[in-house]
Subunit: 153 residues, 2 copies
DNA sequence: CTTAAATCATACCGTTTTGGTAAGGATTGT
DNA sequence: ACAATCCTTACCAAAACGGTATGATTTAAG
């Protein structure tokens, strides 16, 4: 189980997309500028997101990316698994089980499974639709309190 | 946030220790044999566990390790943090926050915090005392069903 | 007193992962 | 035609991972 910047970048990008869902395709460049993500790196992430069906791509000038399905049907877990692979315990996996010889009869393995399940629970119960709404509110609050900051998203 | 074999080995070792808490010090060698952990690697982990106060060391021949405090007061989180460092989100950390400029006003950061909190919840609510009890039961069941396997722990 | 068993400490090392960059090809609106 | 954009592949430095190697130190037992 690992969470790296891939997930972070990917989530920021997807939230960004969700906030502009009715403005047509949004370019990778635009998002990388706005979110402070290295452009070429983000392009790679979008490849993975597209292959997972989470975004649709429009090629050519004025092209960009759109959400692959309604924002309410895209969870953070979808994004994480598209970018980092299946979220499962990295410990006590198949090979290890062969070594320790305990199989299912291992108290330790159960802990890792419960920990992983807890993360999955959080990630799969959070949609980018709700995050986009939250972000909009946060941005409005920020620009009210500190107008100089303006819209960051 | 990361969980590697360090945590796995460390937890197995601590459960092993907890199962033999009244047999005097248990050597690293004995545990590495029983749990199928590379001996020299386990030694390193014990150094970290000792520095964290989770085990006590008895040097010299017939030496070994003992639990640093009652098994009911040692959580899996203690072990994980002793071996892998503080369990916090690896994404949206200090440096990143400076780049994105959102500070607390970030919907994404909240997800990672909730995910981390979920893992912490599982790990800190599980003591090696309970795991040791579970393991004993599992071993007894296994040896009843399949006597040829014998005690593995 | 010697020796074997054990912890302690540090350095090293091959492989994989991470977080990118580089270079160019393919597609399409203007 | 041209510029913007996605697509593909290759490459790369640095760090982390999982482990070995070597040896020093301490101590019980013979």
């Amino acid at each position: 189980m690992r969470l790296t910047v891939k997930s972070e970048y990917g989530l920021l990008a997807m939230i960004d997309l969700a906030c502009r869902v009715d403005e047509g395709p949004v370019s990778s460049r635009e998002i990388s500028d706005r979110q402070g993500i290295p452009g070429k790196y983000l392009e790679q992430l979008f490849v993975a997101l597209r292959r997972a069906g989470l975004v649709g791509a429009v090629r050519g000038a004025r092209g960009g990316f759109t959400l692959g399905r309604p924002a309410a049907e895209i969870t953070v877990l979808d994004i994480v698994e598209a970018l980092e692979g299946s979220l499962r315990p990295t410990v006590c996996d198949g090979e290890r089980a062969a070594v320790c010889g305990r199989g299912d009869a291992c108290a330790a393995a159960d802990v890792w499974e419960r920990a992983t399940a807890a993360v999955r629970g959080v990630l799969e119960s959070t949609t980018i639709s709700s995050l986009a709404r939250t972000q909009v509110v946060l941005d409005e609050t920020a620009s009210t309190i500190e107008p100089s900051a303006g819209r960051q998203d």
